[in-house]
Structure formats: structure tokens, C-alpha cells
């Protein structure tokens, strides 16, 4: 079963605006990752934040992590039409011996030109 829940389920913004997506999870984690998916196919890794980190930046992406609230947010600044895609958070649970990822439900982002 999925661990993560994301909101909003869908987000439509204008080019140039910022987009914020939120993710909540249930158990202790080693890290949390954000992925992007175009057209329902392969996933592209965007950014990873470790459980002892609170904020991380990569280009126009900013990720925050609040382990006390078991939540994370992904901010895309100055959005472009090419950012249109589905975005998923994925957690690597602390328990267990594998690196399997537990994915959230995803946010469908539409950036209008």
C-alpha cells in the first residue's frame, strides 16, 4: 500500500508563477525523493533530501522536509510550460533491509503558456 499522500492532486498555473506541491508520509524515513513523470512513462529523479536535512535547493527547485510533521514540500519557481508533468514524492523507509521506495499519489501540474 502507498505510504505517501500528495496534495493537491492537480494544479494549474500560469507560466512564470510558482508551483508548490505537498507530500505527507506515515513512517520514519531515511530520505525523501521527488520524481517527475511525463506521459505516464519513465520517472526522472529531481532531488533527494535526507532525514537530517530541512531544506535543499537545485536550480529552480526547493524542497523542505519536516520530519516532526512527516511532510515535505516541493516548490518550483518561475514555472515554464515544459514543467507540465506529474510529480511524485517517494520515501525510503527506515525499517527493512531494502532501498525500496514508497511513492505518493502524485500531483499533476499543468503550466499554461
Amino acid at each position: 500500500s502507498q505510504q505517501g499522500e500528495e496534495d493537491p492532486q492537480a494544479l494549474s498555473i500560469q507560466e512564470g508563477e510558482n508551483a508548490t506541491m505537498n507530500c505527507s508520509y506515515k513512517t520514519s524515513i531515511n530520505n525523501l525523493q521527488w520524481y517527475r513523470q511525463n506521459s505516464g512513462r519513465g520517472l526522472v529523479h529531481l532531488i533527494l533530501i535526507r532525514s537530517n536535512e530541512r531544506e535543499k535547493h537545485s536550480g529552480r527547485l526547493r524542497v523542505t522536509l519536516d520530519t516532526s510533521k512527516k511532510s515535505s514540500s516541493l516548490l518550483i519557481t518561475a514555472s515554464r510550460a515544459a514543467d507540465t508533468a506529474s510529480y511524485f514524492c517517494a520515501t525510503a523507509p527506515r525499517v527493512g533491509a531494502t532501498n525500496k521506495l514508497i511513492f505518493g499519489t502524485g500531483t499533476l501540474l499543468a503550466v499554461q503558456p
Binding site: 502507498q2 531515511n30 530520505n31 525523493q33 520524481y35 505516464g40 512513462r41 519513465g42 520517472l43 526522472v44 529523479h45 533527494l48 535526507r50 511524485f88 517517494a90 525510503a92 527506515r94 527493512g96 533491509a97 531494502t98 532501498n99 525500496k100 521506495l101 514508497i102 511513492f103 505518493g104 499519489t105 502524485g106
Partner: protein
């Protein structure tokens, strides 16, 4: 290779037939993962390989599903006696070093399976 590759890209089969899906991980990556993405269930973990062994098979939905990995490289996911609920996109991922919690997984383009 440059990335994770999967074949076939698309597969249409009849209910009750067996199918094999193939994954070629990034060269040198010792960890390999299979996931499934379907409309009703989202993205689900199926199985994890470390080298040729599978320490975590907890996500395989039934005994009709099996997977193997040979030579620490290519992996095959086999679904026997396919059912319509097996229709989904099957995604493979690999990572460089198993056992490191912070290791990024790189995904292939997926195989879209449709069971009629």
C-alpha cells in the same frame, strides 16, 4: 548503457497467457527494482535485487509473478496466466550501491502491459 532500458515498450496479450518483461540496468549498478504503476493503485514496489539474489519480494501480488536476475545485470519479470488486473506500466529501476539509504534510483521508460 546510458540508462535503464526495458523491453518491450508495449505488450498486448490475451488473458491466461504468460508474459516476460525485460530490464537492462545501468552498467555497474548492483541494485535493481521492479515497480508497477496502475490507475487504481498508483506506483507500487514489487521486488528488489541485490546482485542476483532478491532479499525483498514483498511487493509481488501473487505467485503468478516471479522475477530473476542473471549475471548481476539483466532481469526478467514473468507473469503467468495473466489477468486483466495485471494491466499496468511495469517500471524497472537500478541504483549503484545497495544498502545505502540515500542512493538514487534511476528508472527505465517502462513496459505498458495490456491484458485483454
Amino acid at each position: 548503457g546510458a540508462g535503464v532500458s526495458q523491453s518491450p515498450s508495449n505488450k498486448v496479450t490475451e488473458k491466461g497467457k504468460d508474459v516476460e518483461l525485460r530490464c537492462d540496468p545501468i552498467s555497474g549498478h548492483t541494485a535493481l527494482y521492479w515497480y508497477r504503476q496502475s490507475l487504481g493503485q498508483g506506483l507500487e514496489f514489487l521486488i528488489y535485487f541485490q546482485g542476483n539474489s532478491a532479499p525483498d519480494k514483498s511487493g509481488l501480488p501473487s505467485d503468478r509473478f516471479s522475477a530473476e536476475r542473471t549475471g548481476g545485470s539483466v532481469s526478467t519479470l514473468t507473469i503467468q496466466r495473466t489477468q486483466q488486473e495485471d494491466s499496468a506500466v511495469y517500471l524497472c529501476a537500478s541504483s549503484l550501491i545497495p544498502g545505502l539509504a540515500a542512493e538514487t534510483q534511476y528508472f527505465g521508460p517502462g513496459t505498458r502491459l495490456l491484458v485483454l
